[in-house]
């Protein structure tokens, strides 16, 4: 014991003799060791909690899965009501509620038809829908998104559509872009093409990704109609026009060919190029003269001129009598 004390005294004396910098470095060593062990301890606690959480989840998940499967497979009204009451009771606890929702959402994204309808029925009748609706009132944008997704995935005509829609509409102009995008999708999923009303007077840019997501949502709708397509095609917002053009192309809305011809002179290059491709695809021969006028008087870049000539050639389906093409650009002349 004395030897240890002597050794410590010696180390302390040597420590005091060193310069300030060396002393600081020496002090860092035990501090780092201490931090290291605290870290290991915290990680162990966290790991233990995760294991406990997993065990708890496994235990309850099996029970709730059984409730869900019993519900979707029974045809007995009393049995259904019994299970709805059970689910309502367990949903009072937030952990159980989120687990129950997780199970219903996962299963509903895997099965369709009768089982899917029963899952939605369970979601509504057990009261879980109210919790999703409450999420829309949250201040946190990611909680709102959770609510949106739950309501739209498990949507069923339940009498609450107007209330839900009233909550979603303001989100279309929310400052958070992700939430806004989810709101667009939610409206389409709830109201079909009517849900795209916001495009009628849309001032912001509808990104390529948002357009793709909206189209995917539209693909799921049967017997679809686009009452506002003409409004979108005449929008001053190029991204709305581009989205409308995608719809025209995918759904072969040939009835808008006169509007398409007018779009040859649209201010935005991307729109003009897309329109030209669609006109060729639909074989709109009425576009030949406007395309010629564009080529002779307005097109400036040789890429544009080549595109116009290609389109005219495809629409005419024969070599154009090219006397005389007044063209200084050799590449364009060769293409002609």
């Amino acid at each position: 014991m004395n030897k240890i004390i002597e050794a410590l005294k010696f180390i302390y004396a040597a420590f005091l003799e060193e310069s300030l910098l060396v002393q600081l470095i020496w002090l860092c060593i035990p501090i780092f060791f201490l931090l290291f062990f605290i870290n290991i301890f915290l990680i162990s606690i966290y790991r233990f909690r995760l294991i406990q959480r997993d065990k708890k989840e496994t235990k309850y998940k099996k029970t709730y899965q059984n409730f869900t499967l019993e519900f979707i497979m029974t045809n007995d009204y009393e049995e259904e009501k019994k299970i709805e009451r059970k689910v309502k009771k367990i949903s009072a606890n937030s952990y159980n509620r989120s687990l129950m929702l997780k199970i219903i959402l996962a299963l509903s994204s895997s099965v369709s038809g009768e089982y899917n309808e029963k899952l939605k029925k369970l979601y509504v009748n057990s009261g879980l829908i109210y919790y999703s609706y409450k999420k829309l009132k949250s201040r946190k944008w990611y909680v709102k998104i959770e609510g949106l997704r739950e309501l739209t995935q498990l949507y069923i005509k339940n009498g609450f559509e107007k209330k839900i829609e009233q909550k979603i509409r303001p989100l279309v102009s929310h400052k958070n872009k992700v939430l806004k995008g989810e709101a667009y999708l939610a409206l389409v999923q709830l109201k079909g093409t009517e849900g795209l009303y916001f495009l009628n007077d849309f001032k912001e840019e509808l990104s390529e990704w948002q357009q793709i997501e909206l189209l995917e949502a539209l693909f799921k709708i049967r017997n679809i109609e686009f009452p506002y397509a003409a409004t979108w095609l005449t929008s001053t917002n190029p991204s709305v026009v581009l989205f409308a053009l995608k719809i025209v192309e995918v759904y072969s809305l040939i009835q808008y060919k006169s509007l398409l011809v007018e779009l040859i002179n649209y201010k935005d290059t991307k729109v003009r190029r897309r329109v030209i491709k669609i006109l060729v695809k639909f074989n709109v021969t009425e576009a030949i003269n406007p395309l010629w006028i564009k080529y002779e008087h307005e097109a400036t870049s040789y890429f544009e001129k080549i595109e116009l000539l290609d389109a005219i050639h495809c629409l005419q389906n024969k070599p154009q009598k090219l006397s005389p093409i007044k063209e200084d650009n050799k590449k364009v002349l060769i293409s002609a």
Partner: protein, 126 residues
């Protein structure tokens, strides 16, 4: 003695697997379930099933790797049905090239799957 038909079902979604197990056992099939590709391969090698139903997206080994293992390593011609949420053309084409017998996009109607299973098993028995 009539041997019962054995089916291996593999999907990381335990709720779906339970549902399919329940329905298949109701139809009289012996059903073994797996939650990932590795477990599926172990079950296939152990039980030599008459049919395999698998999701594509699974942890450890995915559905396509399971098909590869069955067709090229085990050299088995057991009928295989794959399903997936992301039913992109490439994945579907690749699955058929590997030798699956049928493909279903999620969400699917469970009764439809059962009819397809019945037809497939009838075909293989003929």
């Amino acid at each position: 003695m009539d041997e019962k038909i054995k089916i291996v079902v593999a999907d990381d979604d335990s709720s779906l697997v339970l549902l399919l197990k329940f329905r298949l056992e109701n139809e009289g099939y012996v059903t073994h379930v797996a939650k990932d590709g590795k477990e599926a391969i172990d079950l296939i090698e152990l039980h030599n099933p008459n049919l395999i139903i698998s999701d594509i997206m699974m942890p450890i080994k995915n559905g396509l790797e399971v098909v590869e293992h069955v067709r090229f390593y085990l050299k088995s011609k057991v009928p295989i049905i794959l399903f997936s949420k992301a039913g992109h053309e490439e994945i579907v084409m690749r699955s058929f090239k590997l030798g699956i017998n049928d493909f279903l996009n999620k969400p699917f109607i469970v009764n439809e799957l059962l009819i397809r299973i019945e037809r497939m098993l009838t075909k293989t028995q003929i």
